[in-house]
Amino acid sequence: GQQVMQIPQYQHVQEGEDFTTYCNSSTTLSNIQWYKQRPGGHPVFLIQLVKSGEVKKQKRLTFQFGEAKKNSSLHITATQTTDVGTYFCAGPPNAGNMLTFGGGTRLMVKP
């Protein structure tokens, strides 16, 4: 079945440093969604990318969808303590109707 892998699993950064998490799927995705889960909270939708090579920005967050629609990345510029949490990517295979979630990247920010 489809597998979605995320790396790294954990990342410690100093406040102000940049951070990137990578998401790779074993199959082509019709779209990619990103979620953030704060400590003690539940996943909250951040963004969805649909087109090959698409790039979207939300303030300090930049999301990319690969040309082959099998990978994606989330980059945070100048991290803040409010960025702490676990970031999940999720995507359905082409013609599929279920989201498969990656294992998540847990971001910790040292003030």
Partner: protein
């Protein structure tokens, strides 16, 4: 705003007990999902439902069953709880499956089975 609520935030049960986890959404969404979340394993789909009384198995349905008698309510049932079912359980709902739409999650139920 979509609101998804779950009946309990924390639950402690004994091995062999029957456990009911309830989820209610207020946005008239067709689709509802139950996941379990374990460290390092991400979110794994247990069951989903695309309409009242309709259900489909997810990736890890063994040991679980579900019930959807009303559109807004989706229940997860552990017929005979076991210690390996200790986990965080997350319910979610979405408007569309084709293509898969944003999923809105409830706050989660942390279940401990002793």
């Amino acid at each position: 705003d979509v609101k998804v609520t779950q009946s309990s935030r924390y639950l402690v049960k004994r091995t062999g007990e029957k456990v009911f986890l309830e989820c209610v959404q207020d946005m008239d969404h067709e689709n509802m999902f139950w996941y379990r979340q374990d460290p390092g394993l991400g979110l794994r789909l247990i069951y989903f439902s695309y309409d009242v009384k309709m259900k489909e198995k997810g990736d890890i349905p063994e040991g679980y069953s579900v019930s959807r008698e009303k559109k807004e309510r989706f229940s997860l049932i552990l017929e005979s709880a076991s210690t390996n079912q200790t986990s965080m359980y997350l319910c979610a709902s979405s408007l569309s499956l084709t293509p898969p739409d944003t999923q809105y999650f409830g706050p989660g139920t942390r279940l401990t089975v002793l």
